[in-house]
């Protein structure tokens, strides 16, 4: 399993039966492939779907059923559709249990920057600001560094998506919880040392007294 799928698999273990979840573009979409048996989650797409399903089979695409990336999808039994105001009422109103998304930077206070890089072309924030403010739990799922440059920083320098919203960070190196005391490393990938994770992390990590090996087993 590659790094991205290991991350996605670990994130999927956070999901509980009946959870309403929203998956960001890219790596987070892989989480859907790793949802444990016996756990049924309801995938929300922010432009107006509850109960989104897998990608449509080639040749059977339906242009009225797309995901938030414009990709043709299917829906599961029990799905429903609605407009964008209703959809974001749902999101802002705290009805999404878990939102999983990537980050450019996350910092020790749980601040998140994931929508623009200064000096680069600005794509817009889309629904990310709404999702992280509204969701009950925010999980950042990303590769630990950007070509060796830390993404988990003391203080975000990029424009923020939201303040103090991230609950948990899952990377190929480990699992980090955002707490009032700072970032706590609770799980670590097999074969790594806490020092190695700290070396790839700009923010100071508190090493959990109960540090476990990162759980991506069945």
């Amino acid at each position: 399993m590659d790094a991205k799928n290991r991350i996605a698999k670990r994130v999927a273990k956070e999901l509980k039966d009946g959870n309403v979840i929203n998956l960001g573009i890219g790596l987070p979409t892989l989480v859907a492939n790793h949802v444990p048996d016996g756990i049924n989650v309801v995938l929300q797409a922010e432009h107006g779907i509850l109960g989104a399903g897998p990608a449509a089979e080639p040749g059977r695409e339906d242009p009225d059923y797309i995901n938030a990336g414009g990709f043709p999808i299917t829906v599961r039994p029990g799905a429903s559709f609605f407009d964008s105001a209703t959809s974001f009422a749902l999101i802002r109103g705290g009805h999404v249990d878990v939102t999983i998304l990537g980050a450019l930077q996350v910092d020790a206070e749980g601040n998140l920057a994931n929508w623009m890089v200064p000096g680069k072309r600005v794509p817009g924030m889309g629904g990310a600001m709404d999702l992280v403010v509204g969701a009950k739990k925010v999980i950042v799922a990303m590769e630990h560094t950007a070509k060796g440059s830390p993404r988990i920083v003391k203080k975000c320098t990029y424009p923020l998506t939201a303040v103090n919203v991230v609950d948990m960070i899952v990377t190929e190196m480990g699992v980090i919880h955002v707490t009032d005391k700072g970032l706590v490393l609770t799980e670590i990938a097999p074969g790594l040392t806490a020092d190695e994770v700290q070396a790839a992390t700009e923010a100071d990590l508190i090493i959990s007294e109960d540090l476990k090996v990162m759980d991506i087993g069945n």
Binding site: D64, G70, S84, R121, M129, D130
Partner: protein
């Protein structure tokens, strides 16, 4: 009293300097027929466009923008339309970006007679610039005001001749709310039926909001854009 007309006739509603609300999320629900006629049959310029994304490289809004007819954009995710991206670089004030839910709620408020509302989204970010911040029950919120347009272009899957629209699946998105927030609303529909043929329980946009119905003849290409 049938509201059915041609797209060529309907786009005449757009005048110089107008604010145009354009439904759709990327390709889903994008009123491509109306945008094509706005491109080829209308000379309206100085337009302010309200759109979640201003479409993609492969849809019609970008062509209208290349004609220099759009002077301002209110949107949320513009990563699939490089012309909008360039506008923002050339003149930061020409493109106003909102959290997607804030944009949707501003439009809903515009149609609902709500002058303004307090949302927690955007607090502590660039979005709060110039906006009133206020605390309710210990949590901070931003004041956002309503947004309306002169004309709205929306797309329906089925419309009846009185303008009742059914928007299927994920095509409801912004069109369903924009229809309520503009002075003149044009719906293009894949299928047009007699009044009474559309199940009252399936009406996404009641006909009272819709001024003109035209046949939808142009489809957005189905691609992945993000």
């Amino acid at each position: 009293m049938s509201k059915v007309t041609t797209a060529t006739e309907a786009v005449k509603a757009v005048r110089d300097g107008d604010t145009l609300l354009v439904g759709g999320f990327l390709t889903a629900g994008s009123p491509e027929t109306l945008l094509e006629k706005l491109l080829t049959e209308s000379t309206a310029r100085g337009l302010t466009v309200v759109s979640n994304d201003t479409g993609t490289e492969h849809t019609n809004m970008i062509k209208i923008m290349k004609q220099g007819r759009v002077v301002k954009v209110h949107g949320s995710y513009i990563g699939a339309n490089p012309v909008t991206g360039q506008m923002l670089i050339d003149d930061p004030d020409s493109v106003v970006l909102y959290p997607q839910g804030t944009l949707a709620e501003k439009i809903r408020a515009g149609g609902a007679g709500i002058a303004a509302f307090y949302t927690p989204v955007g607090v502590g970010t660039v979005v709060e610039k110039g906006k009133e911040k206020r605390t309710f029950d210990g949590k901070e919120y931003l004041l956002e005001t309503a947004l309306r347009g002169n004309v709205a272009f929306i797309k329906a899957t089925i419309a009846d001749k009185a303008g009742n629209c059914f928007m299927r699946g994920s095509t409801k998105n912004f069109g369903a709310i924009m229809a309520r927030a503009a002075d003149y609303v044009v719906a293009e529909a894949e299928k047009i039926v007699e009044v009474g043929e559309l199940d009252p329980e399936l009406v996404t946009v009641p006909g009272i909001f819709v001024d003109a119905v035209v046949p939808s003849e142009v489809k957005a290409p189905l691609k992945t854009y993000v």
